[in-house]
Symmetry: D2
Subunit: 425 residues, 4 copies
């Protein structure tokens, strides 16, 4: 399977001689090339201009990129009058031609521009990177941010359609995977830093470790999201145990639990397009078939917002493990955003997927990051097939959080002993 | 290369355990399932309903399919008032939220429905087939045809985005290709029928034959379009010579000409999404690199509309090869559609790609089909790199047809000797 | 799996630029080149001469080939005196040098010649073909046959070592396999002729059909031996049923029996090197894992020597199915070669592998070949894991044939009613 | 290419369900199992015993291994009387049977034993490792060494036949290669230590670096030998320059020189079977095709025996670069073994391959190893196609060493200024 998987990149990599090599001497501004591309009559001319546009884009600094984005945001926005006319015409005489005219009017030309750029060899990854630039510039703020945000919506809309779940490919990442790809895994790991090749080897090579990533056929060398898994007996209660260099691996067939201990999104240019739920559900399904001995699918997840929340609430730092657990339980079950969702982003994600808040552990991540964000607390979210649909429905309809008895009793404790009092001594 | 190519199917074929096996007992009507799918809260529930919808669709007869299509056309059309309100709101306060609201209003819910269906394993090919059904039902006419045509536009729009050139993969088709795929080549050949495996072998196995197809990664077992090529010395003037069982192959390195003698679209559900120009340009680029001895890239193409046109014009059948050639020249250069394009669809395609009308041959296709459609006439269209861009521009701007001196003199002859007079004796 | 399998050929096919392209103008006789090759000092010169030798061999007619073989048989035989001296020296002073000298003396130079030839790119298949030529010439008889037979022993010895079971690769042959390879399956089928691509498709494509072949990495495009299998409910009693174009396939998971109905050796140049037992045992092991529902592994085998034996014995043709079965039972259980083995070669093979003679069917092969060789009789040999080792041991030690009660009772019947009497009327 | 290459391992790895799982409880001594294996009647029983023998071998300490080897050396040696009888019989009546009997007598049973072991899944690599054990025990000396050496000859003979050049596969090793394989490259590098993954990346990833290895299909995860190459402009004169972390890579197409700066044999169990010459010649041929700009193929090689020789000769350490170069020239051109070959093993290898001694550099390897073995001197050996055959012939026939004018003048200098005198001050 890993061999097959590794083929993907190769297959698409060497895919073709470019039929239209780019004239490298075109010095027009990207926005000018974009306009020319929209006006070019034929497919060949369009591909040529799209390739020039990408080449020129690559030479721009942030000011040049911002200039292009603004030009797209303003000059290639929807024509509101045309939309009104077209929707009226379609209302009067529904049919192919009026509908097509309406659809054309309702879609801003910049969407078609992005599609035309995508016809160039290997352009998809470039477009994802362009959106990452755009989002970075939007985050810098300024008066153009609203217009750029509308442009970002067009990118999101197209990329969301192109990165539809039906087009993604799940690949195992193993010690047999190419070094070039593994290097990216080291770089993209966002939860528990990978401290070099030895650390990576400990996460991939032992028989009780697994890693899976989603890829898109048009970006075969770039993982979109990946998850790291420990196969264990019983539910792990600390990431130190999982990552310990000294631990003794167990045969995969002897594990009863698959613990998802790290999930990392890799592409900032795909922000707002969610892969995590699909990845977890797919990996659970695959593991269930490959290792029938697995009966428990659970995460060991950080609580990234705990300290920040407690500080915002003016709560003192808890002094003991018990107090940390109570405080975390209260935070996870009670702290909500204005729209009524859990304040903790990781909780929001797993509870939204239908998982249950299963257990809260103190001293579970003793790294400086773990201490800084949650006084070392970590959480198990449990993916229990029979209850996932119901959990999800109740969570999305009423905001109800599925939690184990032990977590509920922690909250009850926390309610009984308000942290303020407890910490004062 | 063929080995790499053959991997594609395998790679994606065995791609995954379906995380959500379908409950086969759901007996709801497809339109009801479609509505449920649009209302389902979470990703898992949506995928489950999409899979059920596909399963139920597969059990429908034409009446059932038409009922679903009508329901989508009517109940999931754009809400015109919502569009007007949203475009006004966006005009008043341009920004991410108003733009997003406008984009949501301007897109009919059925587009999102199709995207949701596409999340199911292997759904893309199913969607292409569903559109083929839809187009068949539209072609039957009836009062619902305009509404269904608008729905068809949505399919076309999405499939056009998904089957963007940047996502397609070119694969050589050779005698090393799997029998399962070759069987489809036999079935899909639309220009010169392949009379079984021996005939196919003659088109793939000799060193002076090539075949290439475009594939989409989500439909790895289904060619989208393919082209058959003969490597020759000099430009072929009859398809009998090319397909003769008795000919002696030449080493590929000795050929100076690549003759594209058959191009077939394979998927009626991708109607209106053009792959031919890209395919030809890509294959020319690849062959140019692989075989530097090739200097001429030319087609040997049918003239499918000649006889039909002559009959419509009341012209008698020409009695000799010369007269056939003159008549074909006149038809190709002079006969236009109401929008001013060449009446012959094959001419329209190649001239639109920037090719030149190079030569016209009589007795070039002596099959009954060749006789019936063009009195055996065939045409070479020449793809000459330096002139392609100019030919294309003049053709698309002024309708000017690039033609060789010999073809132009045939037309002059034809003008001098009007066919009526000639044939009367 | 079939995808992986199909890679093999590709992998090795395009394996390398030949570092030493052959000078095509060397007109020396093969035997002269062979001598030069044995005397050439370095690796490069040897590979060059070996390549020339192969090129020149390919241009020889049978007389030229015979001349080369005779030269090898006579001029590159073992030097008997050298052997005697070397064995004495080794006896006197056993050690590396004396042993090496003995081994060198005991091996005829022609063995080393064949090894040197094998260093040329893709030479292994050529060597197999050369041995096929040699065996053909030996079979023609003549005074040189004994000398050539000794040479053949050297080929057999080396090829047997090179085609050691540990080097063979099992590949499934499916409808996804390349047409080029399937064409060879059609050609090599030796038991039940494959009447073209439709017949082949019926043997590979249905879900209840399997085919497997052994390959050697150095001859990736050439199957060595293959077996065709029908997955059935119950034990088949006629090949017509298995090969019927009208039958309804069953899902593989519903089969309880794997019936090996055709085994073909492909390479006459590998005569005397047995692959059949390994192939059957390996395929049984693989199928057992892939399809746990299979409980019976059985052949449907021809009885090629029945008619010939009966005629030699002066027995009349039996008139009814019962009589055919009795006669076949007597033949299979009683007719022996001078060395005491079953006279029927197919029986010898399967019984030697530890199978049991399970059932005998009349009208089981109604083709003209089936009628001609066995009056249509066919046999099931049963591979029943628990008894294979014992059957094999008893067969090889005492010649005892494992047979089912029904077969034994057929023999008893046959003994009671001698065929002569029965047929006389 | 690297993708195809990486498939090899996968292909063979997952090759098969073992048809004969081993009974792990057989506690017989390996030598007893070896005897049983030679006496077992059928293929299945033999494979079973071979698998048990391998399993039991893996549990032995050195004493147990030595006991097995001694048993094979003594009890399965050639029967000298049988050889004498058989050679006489063959002399009297040459033919297949007498020849076969002779061949059987002349081959010690232990050779057949090794072949039988090789029928077990993945046994080839195990056999190579067993020979490595054997050679280690022989190197320890003792009274049994001569007998064990004869046994080692049998291993060498069989492995040499199995690892025939025609069976080897050349694979590029790149940064796309699997981490599992790259880990072995780090481990096996024998000339210039690879100091971890960053160092390895610098040797594989830049566009002006190449690495190639030979593999055997039966040991797809184990390189046999590999070579590291720097593409340069001009001939490198120090390994520090090649391995510098700070250097700026050049585009491969701009290189005129391919410098082979490290060649490592990986398998001690294949000692005495030479792959290096083939590897270099093959890689030169491949590079010549892939990069037509390359005109010079040269090594940068160590002089491992220089210091040792000088010390043995009682020569003082040279004090300056010039003196080192003169001394190295004298050593390489003049110092010979008793059989008249160059004393330096690296010189022996390259000169034996037909290379020319091209240049000698001081301060070319400033590592402690480089200082210790050759006072930092390194050598370029030039592989110049037109002269390779002649160089090889003269070297092997007369011992003549091909050397450039500059090297010859260094020797002349050295002769004129005997090192003793020079160093005395």
């Amino acid at each position: 399977m890993s061999v097959l998987a590794d083929l993907l990149s190769g297959l698409f990599d060497r895919r073709r001689v470019d039929p239209l090599p780019v004239d490298g001497d075109d010095r027009r501004a990207p926005s000018e090339l974009a306009r020319a591309l929209m006006n070019a009559p034929g497919e060949d001319a369009q591909r040529d201009l799209a390739a020039r546009l990408l080449a020129r884009y690559g030479e721009q600094d942030d000011a040049g990129k911002r200039a292009l984005f603004l030009s797209l945001a303003r000059d290639m926005d929807v024509d509101r009058d045309a939309v009104r006319d077209a929707v009226d015409a379609y209302a009067r005489a529904p049919g192919r031609d009026t509908y097509r005219a309406f659809a054309a009017a309702a879609e801003p030309p910049r969407q078609d521009l992005i599609r035309r750029i995508n016809r160039v060899t290997d352009a998809t990854g470039r477009i994802v990177d362009i959106r990452a630039d755009l989002r970075r510039l939007i985050a810098e703020g300024g008066p153009d941010a609203p217009a750029l945000s509308a442009l970002d919506e067009d990118f999101r809309h197209l990329l969301s359609s192109w990165f539809n779940r039906g087009f993604l490919v799940l690949r195992p990442i193993t010690w047999e995977t190419s070094a070039a790809l593994l290097e990216k895994i080291i770089q993209y790991e966002a939860v528990h830093d990978i401290g070099g090749w030895s650390d990576l080897r400990r996460r991939l090579h032992p028989p009780d470790r697994r890693c899976f990533a989603f890829f898109h056929p048009a970006m075969p060398d770039e993982p979109l999201i990946f998850v790291e898994i420990a196969l264990t007996r019983g539910t792990p209660d600390s990431v130190q145990d999982i990552l310990s260099p000294d631990r003794t691996p167990i045969p995969a067939a002897e594990a009863d639990t698959a613990c998802f201990y790290s999930i990392s999104n890799c592409q900032p240019g795909l922000s707002g397009i969610s892969f995590g739920n699909s990845l977890i559900k797919q990996v659970v399904a695959d593991l269930r078939v490959a290792l029938p001995g697995l009966s428990t699918f659970v995460t060991l997840s950080p609580v990234p917002g705990l300290v920040r929340w407690a500080e915002a609430e003016g709560l003192p730092a808890p002094d003991r493990g018990d107090a940390v657990r109570r405080l975390a339980a209260r935070y996870l079950m009670r702290a909500k955003t204005t729209s009524g969702e859990p304040r903790d982003p990781v909780a929001r994600f797993h509870l939204g997927n239908g998982a249950r808040l299963h257990a809260i552990h103190a001293d579970a991540d003793t790294t400086s990051r773990g201490r800084a964000q949650s006084w070392g607390a970590m959480v198990n979210y449990l993916y229990d097939r029979p209850e996932i649909a119901g959990n999800h429905r109740r969570f999305s309809e009423t905001g109800e959080i599925a939690a184990s008895a032990s977590v509920r009793s922690l909250v009850a404790d926390a309610d009984a002993r308000p942290p303020k009092a407890e910490e004062v001594r």
